[in-house]
């Protein structure tokens, strides 16, 4: 558990580093804002509306498939460190597991869900 405390210490040091850099630069740099300068940058033309709009739902599909395969990977970790002791049995089990998910992947491929249209 000691090791985790060291890692936690790194997190604190990281935040301290970022905060101190931002603070230092705030002390050093000039500040001369004006309304035009603070406008959203769109290469010159005035922006029309907010950027917070609805976007292509296809991104959502990728995120969902990612969750599915990430959970699969989470099952693979304990297997990868234990399969040697359990033997061929565990390998067959996992091939079944991955094979079943392979159907999901094949379905996505057939439905062209992974293509960008």
């Amino acid at each position: 558990m000691h090791a985790y405390l060291t890692a936690a210490m790194f997190t604190l040091m990281g935040f301290a580093f970022v905060a101190s850099t931002l603070l230092l630069s705030r002390l050093l740099r000039p500040s001369a804002p004006n309304p035009d300068k603070l406008e959203t940058y769109e290469c010159g033309p005035l922006p029309v509306g907010d950027a917070w709009q609805q976007f292509n739902m296809h991104y959502y599909l990728f995120a969902l498939l990612f969750v599915v395969f990430d959970v699969e990977a989470a099952f693979l970790y304990p297997w990868a460190v234990a399969y040697k002791q359990v033997g061929l049995y565990a390998v067959v089990e996992m091939i079944l597991f991955v094979g079943l998910l392979g159907f999901g992947w094949a379905y996505a491929w057939r439905r062209k869900a992974l293509e960008w249209d």
Binding site: A3, Y4, T6, A7, M9, F10, T11, G14, F15, F17, V18, A19, T21, L22, S25, R26, L28, R29, P30, S31, A32, P33, K37, L38, E39, T40, Y41, E42, C43, P47, D50, A51, W52, F55, F62, A63, L65, F66, F69, D70, A73, L76, Y77, A80, V81, Y83, K84, Q85, G87, Y89, V91, M94, I95, V98, W105, A108, W109, L114, E115, W116
Partner: protein, 378 residues
């Protein structure tokens, strides 16, 4: 390699080793940016057959310092439409994962002479964690928040599109990354970075990259491609494709906030290379035991530098992917190849009986009782 146990006041070498490793890694990650910007520009200059930086200091060595000073003195523009708190939080979040992952990287191991003919092993690592590589992956998966939040809080269409693209790219290649890592875990039977390196001791033939041939090589390739994609570097630098999206999620960032995003990219490159060396190239293990007189950390640093050079080489050689090609490649090529290779490698390794064990299924050592049910928990 045996070294004497030097004492520093009330502490000896064994006691201070984690702090030495901590300081070394912290310095490496933070100094990586100035050193690597110079290294990258010089290398790009060489590859493009042009001069590269040569104005500030000998061979342009002081250029990164000049750049740093410039960034400190640049005006910081906080656009009026941004979500302020998240706008400030995003660079900090993107800097954190590589910094914390640095604590887990082992740099070398020694035998310390404790006096009286006794030695004890000492590993130069800040934090040796039983599931270390899983934490590295977890941290890598948190880095995507830096991009998403930076792009979203900017309230700029280019930023938001860049953030969406880069986060979709990052999660797609993260799968391939973890499957590549799993192959190394499978070969070393451990998730502790120290044990993974120790399982590869004995020269290049024992390194994971040549293990379970050819699957080690395939998985190392998958890892390498996914690592380049995860760090958003060319040819996968779609989120900042300047011809399409200005600077992607960084468009509205200026001054030091921009610099921190910039630093986090280079820090991620360093950590990605370090992890690759640990997983595939034997960590601090010399290429042949004959060369064992060179200290382990030097081997480690050399291999990491080699991989960083490869990062730059790839950047200067390959053109950028188109976005649909990128997603197609990640999901339809990299993912199935990695999964099938993993299954085949496991079958191969389970089929190969251990000659010393005798039976197909070796006895299960130290199998702990499951902590499920009964009065055992709580």
């Amino acid at each position: 390699m045996t070294i004497p146990n030097i004492s520093f006041g009330p502490f000896d070498l064994v006691a201070v080793a984690p702090y030495v490793a901590l300081g070394l890694m912290l310095a490496t990650v933070l100094l990586a940016v100035p050193v690597l910007t110079w290294f990258e520009r010089v290398t790009l200059g060489l590859i493009h057959d042009r001069l590269g930086p040569n104005r500030v200091g000998p061979r342009g060595l002081l250029q990164p310092i000049a750049d740093g000073i410039k960034l400190f003195f640049k005006e910081d523009i906080l656009p009026s439409n941004v979500d302020r708190r998240i706008f400030y939080l995003a660079p900090a979040i993107s800097m954190m994962p590589p910094l914390v992952a640095a604590a887990l990287i082992p740099l070398g191991d020694f035998r310390v002479d404790m006096g009286g003919g006794q030695t004890r092993p000492l590993t130069l690592v800040a934090a040796d964690i039983n599931v270390g590589i899983l934490w590295v992956l977890g941290l890598a998966s948190l880095q995507v928040y830096g991009l998403i939040l930076g792009g979203w809080s900017s309230n700029n269409k280019y930023s938001l599109l860049g953030a969406l693209r880069s986060s979709a790219q990052a999660i797609s290649y993260e799968l391939a990354l973890s499957l590549g890592v799993l192959m190394a875990v499978l070969m070393s039977h451990s998730m502790s970075l120290v044990q993974i390196v120790q399982s590869q001791t004995g020269g290049i033939m024992h390194w994971n990259i040549l293990g379970l041939f050819p699957f080690g090589l395939v998985a190392a390739g998958v890892y390498a491609i996914a690592a380049v994609a995860e760090t958003n570097r060319a040819p996968f630098d779609l989120p900042e494709a300047e011809s399409e999206l200005v600077a992607g999620y960084q468009t509205e960032y200026s001054s030091m906030k921009f610099a921190i995003f910039f630093m986090s990219e280079y820090a991620a490159v360093v950590i990605g290379s370090c992890v690759a060396v640990v997983l595939w190239l034997g960590g601090w293990d010399p290429i042949h035991p004959v060369l064992g007189f060179i200290p382990g950390p030097l081997w480690f640093a050399g291999k990491v530098l080699l991989l960083i050079f490869a990062f730059v080489w790839v950047r200067s050689t390959l053109p950028r992917f188109r976005y649909d090609q990128l997603m197609r490649f990640g999901w339809m090529r990299l993912l199935p190849v990695a999964l099938v290779a993993l299954m085949l490698a496991a079958a191969m390794s389970a089929y190969r009986t251990d000659p010393s064990a005798g039976s197909r299924i070796p006895p299960k050592p130290e199998k702990p009782k499951p902590l499920m049910g009964g009065t055992q928990s709580l």
